[in-house]
Amino acid sequence: GIDCSGDSRMCCLKEFFVDFKEIGWEDWIIQPEGYHMNYCAGLCPLHMAGIPGLAASFHTAVLNLIKANNADAAVDSCCVPTQRRPLSLLYYDRDSNIVKTDIPDMIVDACGCT
């Protein structure tokens, strides 16, 4: 994966941190202090689309869906997350109970082209 930097327009990982104190959520979310809502953006070179090796990747289902819905999309490819991890939260619910949970696949660590 490529971290976005400078003026590259390639598919890359854009880091974005939401500080719970800044948005007034620090009273009900005990931990952590914020959420790394990184996301993927940028262009995927055309020659990446339809690479034979892709058939073996786990993006095949996504690519097939795109093909099924939009035939000419097959000549393009998307910048998508390739690595994700859970967001662990300790928070108060509406009954002032204390809840700990891990929300799966909430933090993007790397991006790539399908």
């Binding site: 009900w28 809502m37 996301y39 002032s96 109970n97 949970t101």
Partner: protein
């Protein structure tokens, strides 16, 4: 994303930086609330004191150590664990007691569980923690009743009754998983526990009002996975 734009993040770069930031923060709020099955951010009216929370966490850790199998044995507290990365959300919930009606020989405690738990989760384990403040030497029997509302919701019926022996100041535990699962199954969100002592201790749980000995229920739950058809 604006119409005609290929992917949700593509239109972002066309916005001004402040507008981008506002869109992303709104998206972050929406995704966290939806994953926690919350319609809106909770308004905290009774934050738990730090003392009560630390005591509860300490008690739970001690309880797990006490019930851990011998070294070398896998330790999962008897809960059927999923392999990590299975993508199923699990919860650990601490619900602290609210005092209900009491007499010189009995006291009622209420534990609330939110609607989000009902219907969408299965209870893996639930333990009631009670601290006895015994008045003196000897054995002091305590009757613990789990009450649940009757179908009309006007009265309560006894779901289970357990007799415990208190000999000294100690934390006692009681398995309440079945009672909570049945409560949630009936759409109720409140577990009521009644404690009654044989002789006149005064209120059997003077400690109810002290932060470091506040009774609590520790629940481990797992989101129900929708029925999936595996295509081979």
């Amino acid at each position: 994303a604006p119409k005609g734009v290929w992917c949700p993040a593509c239109g972002l770069s066309a916005l001004a930086p402040t507008a981008q930031r506002d869109v992303l923060i709104a998206l972050a709020k929406q995704s966290i609330l939806s994953k926690l099955h919350l319609p809106d951010r909770p308004n905290i009216t009774q934050p738990t004191s730090r003392g009560a929370l630390l005591t509860a966490l300490h008690r739970m850790r001690a309880q797990r150590v006490d019930t851990a199998p011998p070294p070398g044995m896998p330790h999962d507290g008897g809960i059927p664990r999923l392999r990590p990365g299975m993508g199923v959300q699990e919860y650990e919930i601490l619900s602290f007691a609210e005092s209900g009606s009491s007499t010189s020989r009995s006291v009622r405690l209420h534990f609330h569980f939110t609607r989000e738990l009902a219907g969408s989760t299965e209870i893996l384990q639930a333990t009631l923690y009670l601290f006895w403040a015994v008045p003196g030497p000897g054995t002091h029997p305590v009757i613990v009743r789990l009450l649940q509302p009757d179908p009309a919701g006007l009265n309560t019926t006894v779901a289970s009754e357990t007799r415990l022996e208190a000999q000294r100041d100690v934390w006692a535990t009681l398995d309440v998983a079945q009672a909570i699962q049945s409560l949630l199954g009936q759409g109720s969100q409140r577990l009521t526990v009644e404690l009654e002592v044989a002789e006149d201790w005064g209120s059997p749980l003077l400690a109810v009002h002290s932060d470091s000995h506040r009774p609590f229920v520790a629940v481990q739950a797992r989101a129900r996975t929708p029925h999936r058809v595996q295509r081979r």
